[in-house]
């Protein structure tokens, strides 16, 4: 993990919790992490570091940033950027490569897609050389079969040319550096591509930036396929997923169909608190008009909360000081989400 990324995740306006940033980047999906991730406007980076080093040495890094004069400690857990830190952050935005293609609403299973895609390219490449004896890149059983089936179904209809021109047109749509990096990821006949480290040495980016460029390139490829109507759409099975997890989506569906929290909990053998977390997760990811806030918060409750928090910034609301009967933490947090939109 590196200091630059941590600095980019901090703000000069809003104190942010270090632990929360770490959990978010590592892909922990508690409601608290997601809520604060959205408050920090870094929700799209959720799970971004899953396949790279996590922030293991965050305490050391933050101390270094403090010693450099970029960060000060706001309280025991929260940190803010100094003016110098803000300037540094602005200049890093220019020079440090952060993923640009991640989505707030969708999660891309990049690893899965990449494994399939690399295998497909390798199979095609070896086929173009009439070679059937080679070491395939590793993919799991399911993905291997998916590629096998795809290959056998289409191999006779201009398969090689189609894929060749598809990739060519994708690469032509990119800037030169990223096109070269992408081409150097591909594996095929007598060509094993480059590792992150080799790419990093070659293209003058840090290894982490290469990893981020990779994220963008694979997402761009996914989108390119999505827009293409080609048989390559087979590769996308389960690759683009809603950020809201399946059971939370199910809860939301039942809730919209009139079941209350108690009934949903009973039906699916869940705790009520879990059902509430499901609803909060939906609220975080959905637009205001997509979520039926009025089915949970009565006009009266909203009026009470409006009055109570009239002049307070959302980040500073304190549930412990609320002390209003019938408004539990669930409703408080939901209101907080509603007001954040």
């Amino acid at each position: 993990m590196n200091k630059k990324l941590l600095l980019l995740m901090l703000s000069n306006k809003q104190p942010r919790r270090l632990k929360l940033i770490k959990n978010l980047l590592d892909g922990k999906r508690t409601v608290s992490t997601l809520f604060w991730g959205s408050r920090y406007h870094i929700l799209e980076y959720s799970g971004m570091m899953k396949n790279f080093d996590s922030l293991q040495n965050e305490d050391k890094l933050i101390n270094e940033l403090i010693n450099n004069g970029y960060v000060f400690s706001y309280n025991k857990y929260q940190y803010k950027l100094t003016n110098k830190g803000k300037q540094k952050k602005d200049s890093l935005f220019e020079s440090f490569y952060l993923p640009k293609e991640l989505s707030y609403g969708f999660d891309y299973d990049i690893e899965k897609f990449k494994n399939r895609f690399l295998l497909l390219i390798q199979v095609t490449s070896e086929y173009s050389y009439h070679n059937s004896s080679y070491y395939p890149v590793q993919a799991d059983f399911y993905d291997t079969n998916l590629i096998k089936n795809l290959f056998h179904k289409y191999k006779n209809d201009n398969f090689i040319d189609d894929i060749y021109s598809f990739i060519k047109s994708f690469l032509s749509s990119l800037d030169e550096d990223r096109a070269n990096i992408f081409a150097n990821l591909l594996i095929g006949h007598n060509n094993y591509g480059l590792t992150y480290e080799q790419l990093s040495n070659r293209y003058n980016y840090s290894k982490m930036e290469i990893y981020f460029i990779n994220i963008d390139l694979w997402i761009l490829m996914i989108k390119f396929i999505e827009n293409s109507n080609s048989f390559l759409n087979y590769l996308l099975e389960n690759v683009v997923q809603s950020r809201i997890n399946a059971s939370a989506r199910r809860t939301f569906y039942e809730f919209n169909n009139g079941l209350n929290i108690f009934t949903i909990a009973k039906k699916y053998n869940l705790k009520e608190s879990t059902v509430k977390e499901h609803l909060l997760e939906n609220a975080i990811f959905l637009d205001t008009e997509q979520f039926p806030y009025d089915m949970i918060l009565s006009d009266n409750e909203v009026a009470i909360l409006n009055k109570k928090y009239q002049n307070q910034p959302i980040d500073f609301w304190n549930f412990n000081k609320l002390d209003v009967a019938n408004i539990d933490f669930f409703k408080f947090r939901l209101y907080q989400i509603m007001r954040s939109k």
Binding site: N51, K114, L118, I121, T124, S125, S128, Y129, S133, Y134, Y135, P136, V137, Q138, D140, F141, Y142, I160, I163, Y164, I167, K168, L171, A179, N180, F182, A183, N184, L186, I187, G188, H189, N190, N191, Y192, G193, L194, T195, Y196, E197, R202
Partner: protein, 478 residues
């Protein structure tokens, strides 16, 4: 002989067998349980691949190399046996079920001792008409059986429960005592032994004594600058392998890559195959992380840290010179290097306190799932008493210490090194010369052996431009 040789030509395209292959195959053809002790790099895989094809019945291969099993499968497929599968913990539930339900469709099935020990896996093998039960790297039963992979000790029961199929044990490194211990632990009788010399006469042996780390690094640098590539350097830790990679990249005009368990599958694949295709000169590896490919033209293996026993040493240096051309193995030794190995070894074996506290706490309450807990759990579950376990591990520590002492005595020995190493495997040797080793005050003749690099060539075949990359990928160069 003629029949087997014809098949060899027909199935594999080779004119002749390598030493030991034919004898083992003949013994197997006569229905004997066979112990094949063949030197590293003599094509042990070919033996069971050949035999499986001959008898047209499934071959089950117990392999210790969990991380390499998929590579072994890929290799078998690459060599033409497409109906090969590995049952590993990497499979998910559905995949595993599917393979197990279709087990009789495969000709070669790789599996670890841990996996085949599971009763719900074993029952599928019971239904199989197994033609040959292979124990690959059979020395692992003794080397790892107690303190690392106790499931190896189950193989005896497993062979019985499978109705005693014909067994083939293969290894490159087992002394006479170890061989009979293996056979004993497997509960086999009437085993035919095919024992070939461990000696790899085309690999020169050398030990270089270093004053301190600085001196060691300089000697390392001068070796990689001097010797013909490609080569492998083995380290005891990932950290040292990484540091040396950076050091050599800066100081030597060579392509150097680190290779250890920090690599993900994708990068591991890239590096293995770049190395295989001579795009990398030097690999800095940890010995714990195996290599799934067989590269024939490795000219040198350097041990930056001495191995912990002679068997490991012979295995690791045996990666050199598989093309039978002259190669060299060098150990860089600095005083007290053995302490590093000693500490690593002892860290991996539970001590008396660990065992007492494990039994005292009763492991069921212990949710800690580290390697040591798993290990002790094995003995607990198999009704070993606390005292027995303490004794087992005390004996194990002593064994390991003795093996390390033997390795050290090889390193410090000033007579013929080959003689010393072969004596460990109960072999005699007296043909010492300037191509043998640098013991006995001998200067190795590296020039005549063609091991000195004549000109510095950089292997920069790589193409970086996307247009030419995809043209070459899809055969559009013309």
């Amino acid at each position: 002989m003629n029949y087997l040789r014809q098949k060899l030509k027909k199935w594999f395209g080779f004119d002749d067998f390598r030493p030991g292959q034919f004898e083992v195959l003949s013994s197997l053809s006569q229905g004997e349980n066979t112990f094949g002790m063949l030197p590293t790099g003599t094509g042990k895989t070919l033996i069971y691949q050949f035999f499986g094809r001959m008898i047209n019945q499934p071959v089950v291969i117990i392999s210790p190399l969990i991380s390499l099993m998929q590579d072994q499968v890929d290799r078998m497929r690459y060599l033409g046996s497409k109906k090969t599968v590995a049952i590993t913990s990497g499979l998910n539930f559905v995949e595993k079920k599917r393979i197990l339900n279709n087990l009789n469709k495969y000709n070669y099935i790789y599996i670890s001792p841990e996996m085949i020990s599971q009763l719900d896996v074993l029952k599928y093998f019971n239904k199989l008409d197994i033609g040959l039960f292979v124990i690959d790297e059979a020395h692992c039963i003794i080397q790892w059986g107690t303190d690392f992979r106790p499931e190896y000790l189950n193989l005896h029961r497993i062979i019985q429960s499978l109705n005693n199929p014909q067994v083939l044990m293969l290894t490159a490194t087992a002394s006479k005592t170890v061989r009979s211990e293996i056979v004993h632990k497997l509960g086999l009788h009437n085993v035919k032994y095919i024992v070939k010399s461990t000696n790899r006469s085309n690999i020169m042996l050398s030990v270089k004594y270093c004053d301190d780390t600085n001196d060691k690094n300089n000697k390392l640098l001068s070796l990689v600058n001097k010797l013909c590539s490609p080569g492998i350097i083995y380290f005891s830790s990932k950290k040292m392998a990484n540091m040396a990679t950076i050091f050599l990249r800066q100081k030597a005009n060579l392509k150097v890559e680190a290779y250890h368990s920090d690599l993900n599958n994708e990068n591991r694949y890239r590096i293995q195959h770049q190395f295989m295709n001579d795009q990398i000169d030097v690999i800095c590896a940890t010995s714990a992380f195996g290599m799934g490919i067989d590269k024939s033209n490795i000219r040198y293996v350097i041990h930056y840290h001495m191995p912990s026993n002679i068997e490991s040493y012979v295995q690791e240096m045996g990666r050199a010179g598989r093309d039978m051309k002259e190669s060299i193995s060098v150990i860089l030794y600095q005083k007290n290097d053995e302490m590093l190995q000693y500490n690593l070894l002892m860290d991996n074996i539970p001590d008396d306190d660990d065992i007492i506290s494990f039994y005292y706490r009763n492991y069921k309450k212990n949710h800690n799932d580290d390697e040591q807990t798993k290990l002790l759990k094995y003995y607990y579950d198999n009704d070993y008493s606390e005292e027995e376990v303490i004794n087992i591990f005390q004996a194990r520590r002593l064994d390991q210490k003795n093996s390390l002492s033997e390795m050290l005595s090889y390193v410090l020995n000033n007579d013929c090194r080959r003689k010393k190493i072969l004596s460990h495997f109960d072999e005699k040797f007296s043909a010492h010369n300037e191509y043998c080793c640098d013991g006995d005050h001998t200067k190795l003749n590296l020039y005549a052996a063609n091991l000195i690099r004549s000109n510095i060539k950089t292997n920069n075949k790589h193409n970086y431009d996307w247009n030419s990359i995809i043209n070459s990928l899809f055969n559009k160069m013309h």
